[in-house]
C-alpha cells in the first residue's frame, strides 16, 4: 500500500465523516435535549440548501447566504414546534410519524416550487496534491467546520443561560418548571436551533451536494442511525459515532464500491445496536 494513497483515503474519509457530523448535529441536539426524533431533519437540510441557493441566485454572496439559510430554517422550525411537536411531547413514535409526514410535505412542496433538478453552485476549484493524488480543498475544510460547529454547540449548551435551562429541562423537567424555567419556550428554541443546524448543513454543503428535493434522505437516514446508535449522550456520542461509522463507510467505499460502503454502514449499525441495545453512550456518566 502506498503511503500517498493511504493518506488520501484517510483525509477524504475524515472529510466524509465530518460532513456526516455536520449534517447530523442538529438531529442530535433535538434528540438529546428534547427526546424527539425529527424525521423531517433531512428536509430541513434541503430547505437550508434551497434557501442558500435562492439567496445566491438573487446575488447574495455565498457567505451571506449561509446565515440566511439558518434564519429561514430556524423560523420554520419554530413554527413547526409550536404547531405540531408541542402537542406530542412524550409520544416519541407519534412525533416520528408526524415529522415523517412533514418531511413528505416539504419534499413535495420543493418539487412543486423548484422542480426535481436544479443547478448546483460551483465548488471553489482549489485542489491539493499528495503525491500523484489530487484532493479538492473545499470538502477538506469541512473537517475544520465540523470541529468548529461541535465546539460552538458545546459552548452554547454549557456556557449560556439557554443551554443550562435546556439541559435542566431534559434532565428534570418538573424540577425545571418548579424553579421557573418555561420549558415550552426552551423547547421551541431547541427545536429551532436543531433545524437551524440542519439549515446550516444544507447551505455549507451546497457546493458539495447540489440541492434537490430528495437530497435530505441520504443524510437523514445515516443521521438517524448515527444519533440512535450514539444514544443518550447526544453530543460526544454522536461525534464519536459519526467519525466511526461515516469514516469507516468511506474507507470501505474507497477500497471497494460505494454500495459496499453503505452496506458496511448499515451492518456496523446493526452490530453496534446488538452490542449496545440502548446506544453506545447509555452507560456513560457524562451528560453532553
Amino acid at each position: 500500500m502506498e503511503p500517498d494513497f493511504l493518506a488520501t483515503v484517510l483525509l477524504s474519509s475524515l472529510s466524509s465523516a465530518s460532513i456526516l457530523l455536520i449534517a447530523t448535529l442538529g438531529l442530535a441536539v433535538v434528540y438529546g435535549l428534547m427526546g424527539v426524533i425529527n424525521l423531517a431533519h433531512g428536509e430541513f437540510l434541503m430547505v437550508g440548501a434551497y434557501s442558500a441557493l435562492t439567496a445566491t441566485q438573487i446575488g447574495l454572496p455565498f457567505l451571506l447566504a449561509i446565515p440566511f439559510a439558518v434564519f429561514m430554517t430556524m423560523l420554520i422550525g419554530a413554527v413547526v414546534e409550536l404547531l405540531i411537536i408541542r402537542r406530542l411531547y412524550g409520544r416519541i413514535f407519534d412525533t416520528m410519524l408526524a415529522t415523517w409526514g412533514l418531511g413528505m410535505v416539504f419534499n413535495q412542496t420543493a418539487v412543486l416550487l423548484f422542480g426535481t433538478v436544479s443547478p448546483g453552485i460551483g465548488m471553489p476549484q482549489w485542489n491539493f496534491r499528495i503525491g500523484d493524488f489530487s484532493l479538492a480543498v473545499y470538502p477538506l475544510t469541512m473537517i475544520v467546520v465540523a470541529a468548529l460547529l461541535l465546539a460552538f454547540v458545546y459552548v452554547l449548551m454549557t456556557k449560556t443561560v439557554y443551554g443550562m435551562k435546556a439541559r435542566a429541562s431534559i434532565q428534570e423537567p418538573q424540577m425545571a418548571q418548579a424553579i421557573g424555567i418555561d420549558s415550552a419556550r426552551v423547547n421551541t428554541l431547541t427545536f429551532a436551533i436543531g433545524c437551524g443546524l440542519a439549515g446550516f448543513a444544507g447551505a455549507i454543503l451546497l457546493p458539495i451536494i447540489p440541492a434537490t428535493p430528495s437530497m435530505g434522505l441520504f443524510f437523514a437516514v445515516k443521521g438517524f442511525l448515527t444519533v440512535v446508535v450514539a444514544g443518550p449522550v447526544a453530543l460526544t456520542g454522536t461525534a464519536l459515532t459519526a467519525l466511526g461509522l461515516g469514516g469507516g463507510a468511506s474507507v470501505t467505499a474507497s477500497f471497494m464500491t460505494s454500495v459496499i460502503g453503505d452496506v458496511f454502514f448499515f451492518f456496523v449499525t446493526a452490530l453496534l445496536l446488538w452490542l449496545y441495545p440502548l446506544g453506545i453512550s447509555s452507560k456513560w456518566r457524562r451528560k453532553l
Binding site: R87, I92, D94, M96, A98, G101, F266, T269, L273, W274
Partner: protein, 603 residues
C-alpha cells in the same frame, strides 16, 4: 345482545364486508376492480404491521422489506413454475410467506434478544428497508427464467392463475379481485383467531408490561420473535399477491414513500383493531382514486403527508377506534363494580388448600441462597458481596434505610439485575446466569415494589394469565384463577379492568398473580405499601401462612408489619449485610438504630 354484538364485532363486520365485496365483485367496472384489488393487498400489508405494532408494541418500519422480499421470492418461484404447471398461487404464496417469516424472525431475533430499546428497534427495522432499497438498485441475478435486473426490476410475473397445467389462463380483473378478497379474508380470520388465542393473550401482556410477563415465567423473547415472524409471513403473502397483481416488481417497493404508507393505513383504520388497516387502505386508496391520478398521482404524497400529521394530532385511535369508544358509551361500565369493594379478607382455609395443592404439583419448598452476590452500577454498589440462605418455615424480612440495596438484592435474585460476581442458587440449582423466566419456572415468584398488573385486562384475566404461565392448560388455569379470586374475596370485581382498582387492591391482585405461579420461593417487595391497617393485618396472616409452605422473603419499611411476621430479620446497609436476628434484638441494637436515625459512625 348489544354487548354480544360488540364482543364479536371483529368477526361479524369483516364477514359481512367480505360477503359484500364478493357480491359486487362480478358487477364492478373492470378497471375499478383492478385498482381495488391493490387496496385489499395494501390492507393485508397494513394488517401485518398491526399484528406487530398494535398488538406486539413494536413500530416496525421493515414491513415493506418483508413485503418486497416475499414478493420478489414468490415472483421468482412463480415465473419458473407457472408456465409449466399453472397455478401461480400455490407456488408463490407459501414461498413468500415462508421467506417473509424467516427474514422477520432473523430481524426479530436481533432486536428482541439484544433487548434493544424501542427507538433502536424501530430504527434498526428502518435500516433493513433502506439497506434493501440501496442494494436492490444494482442487484442483478438470473434465477431460471426470472431475471432480477436491479433498477430495471423483475418483469414477466404471471398473473393470478388458478387452474393447473400449461393451458391454465390468468384470471380476469373481477375474478382476481374476488380471489384476493377471499385470501385476505382468510388471513384476517386466522390472525383474528391467533390474537384471541392464548398466544395472542401473551402478546397483549408483553405489550402492556413486558417485565411482569417475564416475571410470570413466559419466555417473552421467543413469543416476540414468533409474533414478528407471523407478521412477516402476512407481509410476505401480501407481497406475493402484489407481484401477481402488478406482473412487475422494482426496487421502489422498498422506498421510503412505500414504507410510509403502511403506518398510515393502520393509523387511519385504528391501531390494534386488525380490521382497521383494511378500512384505512380502502379510505386512502379510494381517496386518491377519486381525487384523480390514482395511487401514483402527483400530489398524493403531499396529501398523505398532511393526512398523517392530522391523524397523529387529532384522531389517534383511527376510525374504528373512535367508533369503538362511541359504542362503549352506550354499554354499562364494567368497572362500576370496582367501587363496591370492602376491605380484602383472606380466607386462610382456602389459602392452606391452595398451598398444599401447589406443593403437590410443584414440589416441596426450595432454599434460596446467595454467595457473595455482587452488583454495581457505575460507582454505586447496591449489592455488595451478600451471602445469605433463605429457608422455608418462617418469613424472612429484609429491612434497612432507603438506598440500603433491599430491592436491588431481590432484583438480583430474580434476575432482573445480572450480578457481576458471586452465585445465586435455588434449591440445588445454580441460577446465577439463568434468564428471569427460567428462574420463575424453577419456582421463584416475585412481586415488585410498584404493583404490576395488566391494566387493560380484567381481574380474572390477570390471574388467568398467571396461572396459565405455569399450567399451560386453559381448564386448569380457569380453576386456579377462580380459586385465588375467591381466596382474595375479589369475586365481585372479576370483570373489572385491573387499572380501575385502587392501589391497595392492585397490590392484592399482584400478590394473587404470584400465588397463581405456585412459587417455591416468594419474593415480596414492599407488599404493604398503599394498604389500610386492616389489609396490612390480613397480609401478615397471608405471609405467615405462606411461609409454612414456601420460602418467603419480604422487603418492608413498616416495622409494625415486620414485627407481626415474627420471623427472621436481616438488616442491609449500603449494599452489605449489617445485622440479623429477630426484631426484638435488632430493636435493642445500637448500631441498627444508628443507621436508621443517621447518627454515630455507621452512617
Amino acid at each position: 345482545m348489544f354487548e354480544k354484538l360488540y364482543k364479536s364485532s371483529g368477526l361479524i363486520f369483516p364477514a359481512l364486508a367480505t360477503i359484500a365485496a364478493l357480491a359486487v365483485s362480478g358487477s364492478l367496472d373492470a378497471y375499478l376492480a383492478f385498482v381495488a384489488t391493490s387496496w385489499i393487498i395494501f390492507g393485508l400489508l397494513g394488517l401485518s404491521l398491526d399484528v406487530i405494532w398494535g398488538r406486539g408494541g413494536l413500530l416496525s418500519l421493515a414491513q415493506t422489506a418483508f413485503y418486497g422480499l416475499g414478493g420478489y421470492f414468490g415472483a421468482v418461484v412463480a415465473i419458473n413454475m407457472a408456465p409449466t404447471y399453472g397455478m401461480s398461487l400455490v407456488w408463490a404464496l407459501p414461498c413468500s410467506a415462508l421467506f417473509g417469516a424467516l427474514i422477520a424472525a432473523a430481524l426479530g431475533y436481533v432486536i428482541f434478544y439484544a433487548r434493544m430499546g424501542a427507538l433502536q428497534s424501530t430504527i434498526l427495522s428502518y435500516t433493513l428497508t433502506l439497506l434493501l432499497w440501496s442494494v436492490t438498485q444494482t442487484f442483478k441475478l438470473d434465477v431460471g427464467a426470472a431475471t432480477i435486473g436491479g433498477d430495471n426490476g423483475l418483469s414477466g410475473i404471471p398473473g393470478f392463475v388458478l387452474g393447473f397445467g400449461e393451458e391454465a389462463k390468468k384470471l380476469k380483473p373481477n375474478a382476481a379481485f374476488a380471489l384476493v378478497v377471499c385470501i385476505s379474508a382468510a388471513v384476517y380470520f386466522v390472525t383474528y383467531w391467533l390474537m384471541r388465542s392464548n398466544f395472542g393473550k401473551i402478546v397483549d401482556c408483553i405489550r402492556i408490561d413486558i417485565q411482569k410477563t417475564e416475571l410470570l415465567g413466559y419466555d417473552i423473547r421467543k413469543v416476540q420473535v414468533l409474533n414478528f415472524a407471523y407478521s412477516g409471513a402476512v407481509a410476505g403473502i401480501a407481497g406475493a399477491l402484489f407481484a401477481l397483481w402488478a406482473n412487475y416488481l422494482n426496487p421502489s417497493i422498498f422506498s421510503v414513500q412505500e414504507a410510509l404508507l403502511v403506518p398510515i393505513y393502520v393509523l387511519v383504520g385504528g391501531l390494534g383493531t386488525l380490521a382497521g388497516p383494511f378500512l384505512g387502505a380502502l379510505i386512502i386508496g379510494g381517496l386518491s382514486f377519486w381525487l384523480g391520478g390514482g395511487a401514483a398521482g402527483g400530489q398524493t404524497t403531499l396529501i398523505l403527508g398532511t393526512v398523517l400529521i392530522l391523524l397523529v394530532l387529532f384522531l389517534q385511535n383511527g376510525v374504528l377506534g373512535a367508533l369503538g369508544s362511541l359504542w362503549r358509551r352506550f354499554m354499562p361500565d364494567p368497572n362500576n363494580a370496582a367501587r363496591l369493594t370492602g376491605a380484602v379478607q383472606i380466607d386462610t382455609e382456602v389459602l392452606e388448600d391452595i398451598l398444599v395443592e401447589a406443593e403437590k404439583t410443584a414440589g416441596p419448598a426450595k432454599n434460596l441462597s446467595t454467595d457473595e452476590a455482587f452488583k454495581r452500577f457505575g460507582g454505586v454498589i447496591p449489592v455488595n458481596k451478600v451471602s445469605r440462605d433463605f429457608t422455608p418455615g418462617e418469613p424472612h424480612s429484609l429491612i434497612g434505610p432507603n438506598g440500603a440495596g433491599k430491592s436491588s438484592f431481590l432484583k438480583t435474585c430474580v434476575g432482573l439485575y445480572r450480578p457481576e460476581g458471586g452465585t445465586i442458587s435455588l434449591g440445588d440449582e445454580d441460577i446465577t446466569k439463568a434468564p428471569v423466566f427460567a428462574r420463575v419456572r424453577s419456582g421463584m415468584g416475585m412481586k415488585n415494589q410498584k404493583p404490576q398488573v395488566f391494566g387493560e385486562k380484567t381481574v380474572r384475566e390477570n390471574l388467568w394469565i398467571a396461572a396459565y404461565a405455569r399450567t399451560k392448560d386453559s381448564a386448569k388455569s380457569d380453576a386456579i384463577s377462580a380459586q385465588i379470586l375467591g381466596m382474595l374475596g375479589l369475586g365481585a370485581q372479576s370483570g373489572v379492568q385491573a387499572s380501575a382498582l385502587s392501589h391497595g387492591q392492585q397490590q392484592w391482585l399482584d400478590i394473587g398473580m404470584v400465588l397463581c405461579l405456585a412459587p417455591r420461593v416468594v419474593l415480596l417487595d414492599e407488599p404493604a405499601a398503599g394498604m389500610t391497617n386492616e389489609e396490612t393485618r390480613e397480609l401478615s396472616v397471608l405471609v405467615r401462612t405462606l411461609a409454612k409452605h414456601t420460602t418467603v422473603v419480604v422487603v418492608e419499611h413498616d416495622m409494625e408489619f415486620v414485627r407481626t411476621l415474627e420471623g427472621h430479620v436481616t438488616v442491609l446497609h449500603q449494599g452489605k449485610l449489617f445485622a440479623e436476628g429477630d426484631i426484638k434484638t435488632l430493636r435493642a441494637n445500637d448500631a441498627v438504630l444508628d443507621i436508621y436515625l443517621g447518627r454515630g459512625e455507621h452512617v
